[in-house]
């Protein structure tokens, strides 16, 4: 899997909300996307899935998945890529599940939708749950019976079950408390290493991004202000905005102002 974004711009009417010069992501890599609220992080994620068109946005530039152009691809072809090749995990884990459908039914439906046989689907669902350390009983539960961390891991498990190659995680830990965050990050890291999953990890939390990312891209007001290897961006930020962001990170042993 190789994702290449070049000169991408997403505009709502006159207003351009995202402008990206270049993004590259391959198997087994984590690309961190940092930026404050409203900086266009989520819009970029939706644009990669081809979902901004439905929201009335104009997308220009190029998004290529293994050399196939996603910008301007017919909706029918995009629907096969969504879920099957690119999966997405959202910020508030519990509300990302339809409250009237059991987790297991949702898994089966999603797998059947992408052409997996029924018997095979059940096995895949169980296996995917094991990978995120959830017991198979979870499949019999309704979303409101899961904790935030469990629901988020279930969402990641769905991506695994579908054998997605690219996982877009849009602030997957922001709604969780710190210990649960650590579980989710652990799960994502393991999948990246073992399953060679490519991960686009969106967050405003530089500490989390620094821990997980290989490459880091900083967005401000939709503009790509800095990008490079994560360690380099965090230790020697080139752009004034990145320096401010880094300076705003709380540090152990730092003075309270």
């Amino acid at each position: 899997m190789k994702l290449e974004v070049r000169d991408l711009s997403v505009a709502f009417g006159e207003q351009t909300v995202v402008r990206i010069e270049a993004l590259d992501l391959s198997d087994g890599e984590v690309l961190g996307l940092a930026g404050e609220s409203g900086s266009g992080k989520s819009t970029l994620a939706l644009a990669i899935l081809g979902l901004t068109g439905q929201m009335g946005a104009t997308v220009a530039g190029s998004i290529q998945l293994d050399g196939r152009e996603l910008v301007g691809m017919p909706e029918q072809e995009l629907r096969i890529i969504r879920g099957r090749r690119i999966a997405m995990v959202f910020q508030s884990p519990v509300s990302a599940f339809n409250p009237v459908i059991r987790i297991g039914d949702l898994f089966l439906r999603a797998l059947r939708h992408h052409g997996v046989e029924r018997a095979d689907a059940r096995e895949r669902a169980n296996q995917a749950l094991r990978e995120v350390f959830l017991p198979p009983e979870m499949l019999a539960r309704y979303p409101h019976q899961l904790s935030g961390g469990q629901a988020q891991r279930a969402a990641i498990a769905l991506a695994i079950a579908l054998r997605s190659e690219l996982l877009i995680a849009d602030e997957p830990t922001s709604a969780l408390d710190v210990t649960v965050q650590a579980e989710v990050i652990e799960v994502i890291r393991r999948l990246q290493v073992q399953e060679r999953l490519g991960v686009l990890f969106i967050s405003h939390d530089l500490a989390v991004l620094g821990e997980l990312s290989d490459t880091l891209v900083v967005l401000r007001a939709g503009e790509q202000v800095e990008s490079g290897p994560a360690a380099q961006v965090l230790e020697a930020p080139q752009h004034a905005y990145t320096r401010e962001l880094v300076a705003s990170m709380p540090k152990l042993g730092g003075a309270l102002s």
Partner: protein, 293 residues
């Protein structure tokens, strides 16, 4: 964690019967409703003179007061009013069910589509709905019944035409709120088509208020059908329709009270039963409402 989750489910599962258990009005309504349904189903077995609900006439036996042979008396052509009131349950429940099913079948898909897609589709559908809503419902039903001709079938059609816009509106509001939820976005990110998203995710999550509204409206439909028939624009003789029977009886109400009274009481009972049950359903199914009793 697991214990809390189970406890929560148990509580939710109990909530519906619990809410109804303390509420004698709702229970009473439900009981009356159950009786009405049983009467409608078993009318041929229960009615002492089933043929009186159809074409039979016994002119010599006209306008007899209630007696052990004719519990509710007889009407102007000598038909047993008790038998006709029992059969009338059938007519009223049937029309009511047909009107509501038709109204929901037309209104809900349109409303859900409007709420889900928004924008232009929403505008078109809702403006059409507004046009229908602009006419007073009873007046429109009267006009349609007058144009199409007076019969029970046409009254049903007329009512369905006046009733669907309300369901379209209700479903639209609900679907619009569901469409903005995150699980719809995540369904899209899973590659589902709009058609499937609407069918599997938006519709099931929009139905609760529709069900409540149906149970509340059933009483209203019964009254309106009776009203149309009373005015001569609904069911025609010899159909044992309650409103029509009241209309026949009103001419000699002061001298032979039973002819109009018993069908009138039936209308009252049926409408009230549906309203009580509808209120109860609304309380039980609305998760935002805490029930104190």
């Amino acid at each position: 964690m697991t214990d809390v989750a189970t406890a929560v489910t148990t509580r939710r599962r109990l909530l519906v019967p619990e809410a109804l258990r303390g509420n004698y009005l709702v229970l009473g309504g439900g009981l009356v409703l159950l009786c009405l349904v049983l009467v409608a189903v078993f009318a041929p077995l229960l009615a002492p003179f089933p043929e009186d609900a159809a074409n039979a006439t016994h002119a010599a036996n006209g306008l007899q007061p209630p007696s052990s042979a004719h519990w509710f008396g007889t009407d102007q052509v000598g038909r047993d009013i008790f038998s006709r009131v029992l059969y009338g349950t059938r007519v009223s429940l049937e029309i009511s069910a047909l009107v509501l099913i038709a109204a929901v079948a037309v209104g809900v898909p349109l409303g859900v589509a409007a709420g889900y897609f928004g924008g232009f589709i929403d505008d078109v559908i809702m403006r059409v709905t507004d046009v229908f809503l602009a006419f007073p419902a009873l007046l429109l039903a009267l006009a349609l019944a007058a144009v199409l001709g007076a019969s029970a079938e046409n009254a049903t059609l007329a009512l369905a035409i006046t009733w669907w816009p309300w369901y379209a509106r209700l479903a639209r509001g609900q679907a619009a709120s569901v469409a903005g939820r995150q699980y719809i976005e995540s369904a899209r990110a899973l590659g589902l088509s709009n058609f499937r998203i609407i069918g599997r995710h938006v519709l099931p999550n929009s139905l609760t208020p529709v069900l409540v509204q149906m149970s509340l409206d059933a009483g209203g439909v019964i009254i309106t059908v009776a009203g149309l028939s009373f005015l001569g624009l609904g069911a025609q003789d010899p159909t044992p329709e309650w409103g029509l029977m009241v209309a026949h009886g009103q001419a000699f109400f002061t001298t032979h009270w039973w002819v109009a009274t018993f069908p009138g009481v039936a209308i009252l009972l049926a409408a009230m039963a549906f309203n009580l049950v509808g209120d109860g359903l609304r309380e039980a199914l609305d998760p935002k409402r805490v029930i104190f009793r």
